[in-house]
Subunit: 416 residues, 2 copies
């Protein structure tokens, strides 16, 4: 115990990276290289790809209205399998390792089954084993509630497990191994010249994640930002390990030398537009519309209110996720008797395109460039919303690729 | 809490009984009927049939020499799935239930991973929930070691979980639901007239189980005997529940009214015979032969020693399980340099046939009937061994069916 503690690393592997014995052996080989690089490593693993879906389908088939505590007991089991197999794979190549279920560490969460939040992780057990030379393999996605029941962190929750564990272990870095090699300036399937970013700030990544660039779970980015955990996204299939920084590092804004106005163009097809035509333009109308939606747990994203010609009525437009769309219409129908709007018009054939960059905080003109670029391509903007580091517009879905490509070029993001 | 505690029942369902959503719904329906019969019920479930085999195969593929603690973490996960699904199925039909993993109860075991023994079960958590009207669904096959690691009880261990839980809960009975409707006087695939036994004593069941009538795991019968847990074997597919006593009750000898000389004819094909021909007939020879086998963990079953004609040498014959056969030969080869036997002769084409019955304790002539019956059919007996309630003979495998049928008739076991 006299030796100084080694630097620590958390390495997280997603479902495709652990889908089968051979892939888990590949994971073990990557972990071994970091151990040889001098790190104490905690590995966080997802279930084999498809496994959790299979378990969730069984649960739904048994009853659509199942107890969320039982859902968690069932859905968490795939991670126990991959954690055990990964520990065996490490042992086999001479890296002593043991698996940890969430409750064994423990990873304490609140009692919100199905999408629990991590409250606290006690790193002592893992640290004691590090001191004995034993690496940790942790089942991702799971924790234990105050009542001693198994909880899960929601889909993609293993990313959150990994970042939280990195914070608790004061790890040098949290490397998220996945099936893509980093975060791109935009979707490479749409823009051939999309470039991989070496670094991206937490804030930008958060906008990217929440806008549908599904590389990292949004909550894991929030947690990385709060605890300032350097988090790298990289591929488990190209043979490189995190120490070489081959992926995209999600880090503090200050650590990014190359300052960019815009870091990326994101888009989300998961949008539905609802317009209440000619609602009376009087105080309390917005509350009357949006309170019932909030009560029903429906997340409303973009909202615009246009004053109409007569000055007495207004059109109220907003967007929801496609999954909430039908339910939102039902809630409106049940609650809008008193509002006396003319009619409801809807459109699910829309897409939200966003330009994201911390640079726009200090530079004007980012939004104007966006509007001008889209106008030049003849693309009509239906709704606009902005935040400190993001401008989003809602456009017709058929223009998605055209808009993303044009904006990628306009902001100088095209690679060589 | 003022109401008197209800009588309790443990209902255990094997892998075929929980193989899929529909079958689990059937299980829930059976449990509901016992709840309506006035019982507090603890349900013990196995993994879906095939699941544990799949997990074990993955573990072996990863490494034949895997850490047994990781094996247990992996192999135990199938039971968590069925326990959760069963709890949901019960909730859905109006029977409040929650699932329990072994560590949650806890079911405390020793640290012999892969075949752990149950040391203690704390029934308080389940009892508290019973008092609130919530039934228990317990993941079978698993427990927790003194070090806080998950243990498994060995294949078929869910039977042991169920019996141990019945003892801890002081249950009125432990009903083991399986894909057969009880314990038969012999294998019905061989003897059409085999009869289902209404009752069988613990001691007889123990001999039946250890001889290959694989209805109940041997260790579960031992535990039932030690704790005097009334245990019923019955089918989950014929629509009857335990209260009607449709299966076979394994119970104390005193509770069996109908006294029989012989309760059943068992056979085991898992036998291999080894003969050391012409070993010197002097003190210490048996020890020299069997000590190395014992050291190697090889279980030797039947042993006979014949004095040969010259009075100076003897033939030593014994049997092992087929799985140990090759290894036993290797151990002998490595250790018998000094014995100077003439040669080793082997035969794996043998079967052990046994007649079992507590009645033979007080009645002579049971063995004679056996020998006479086999002689009449021209079947040569190679080895004989006896215990207080059992006579076993080793014969050539080709006579298996003939011998079992003849003995079944000779002891008056043929049904109508």
């Amino acid at each position: 115990m006299s030796a100084a503690a080694k630097p620590r690393l958390v390495m997280k592997f997603g479902g495709t990276s652990v889908a089968g014995v051979e892939r888990i052996r590949n994971v073990a080989a990557l972990v071994k290289r970091e151990v040889e690089n001098g790190y104490d490593v905690a590995v966080v693993v997802s279930a084999m790809s498809g496994e959790t879906n299979k378990l969730v389908a069984l649960t739904r088939e048994m009853s659509p209205l199942h107890d969320a505590r039982e859902y968690d007991a069932i859905a968490s089991s795939g991670e126990n399998v991959t954690a055990g197999l990964t520990a065996i794979a490490l042992d086999t190549i001479g890296v002593p390792a043991r698996s940890w279920a969430g409750w064994q560490i423990p990873i304490k969460t609140d009692g919100v089954h199905g999408s629990a939040s991590i409250l606290d992780i006690d790193p002592k057990g893992i640290e004691d084993r590090f001191a004995q030379g034993t690496m940790a393999v942790v089942a991702g996605f799971q924790g234990i509630s105050p009542e001693g029941r198994i909880t899960t962190l929601g889909r993609g929750g293993s990313d959150t497990s990994a970042v939280a564990l990195a914070a608790a272990l004061k790890a040098e870095r949290c490397d998220i191994y996945t099936d893509v090699d980093g975060v791109y300036t935009t979707d490479p399937r749409i823009v051939e010249k999309a470039r991989k970013l070496d670094k991206i700030s937490y804030e930008e990544m958060l906008e990217m994640a929440s806008l549908g660039a599904k590389v990292l779970q949004t909550r894991s980015v929030e947690m990385a930002m709060i605890h300032r955990v350097k988090t790298q996204v990289l591929s488990s299939f190209d043979g490189q390990v995190g120490a070489d920084l081959p992926g995209t590092l999600v880090c503090d804004e200050d650590e990014i030398m190359e300052k960019r106005l815009v870091s990326g163009i994101a888009y989300s097809r998961d949008e539905a537009k609802i317009t209440l035509v000619k609602v009376p333009d009087r105080p309390g109308v917005a509350a009357a519309i949006f309170s019932p939606l909030a009560d029903a747990g429906i997340n409303v994203d973009m909202i615009v209110q246009n004053v109409s010609d007569d000055g007495k009525t207004t059109d109220m437009t907003f967007t929801t996720g496609k999954a909430d769309f039908e339910r939102a219409l039902k809630v409106l129908e049940d609650n809008l008797h008193d509002i006396r709007h003319e009619r409801v018009s809807t459109d699910t054939n829309v897409v939200k395109v966003s330009v994201i960059g911390v640079g726009m905080r200090t530079h004007a003109g980012v939004a104007q460039t966006m509007f001008k670029t889209l106008a030049e391509k003849g693309i009509n903007i239906q709704v606009i919303s902005t935040s400190e580091i993001k401008v989003s517009v809602l456009i017709a879905a058929e223009y998605t690729e055209l808009a993303v490509r044009a904006l990628h070029t306009a902001y100088g993001l095209d690679g060589p």
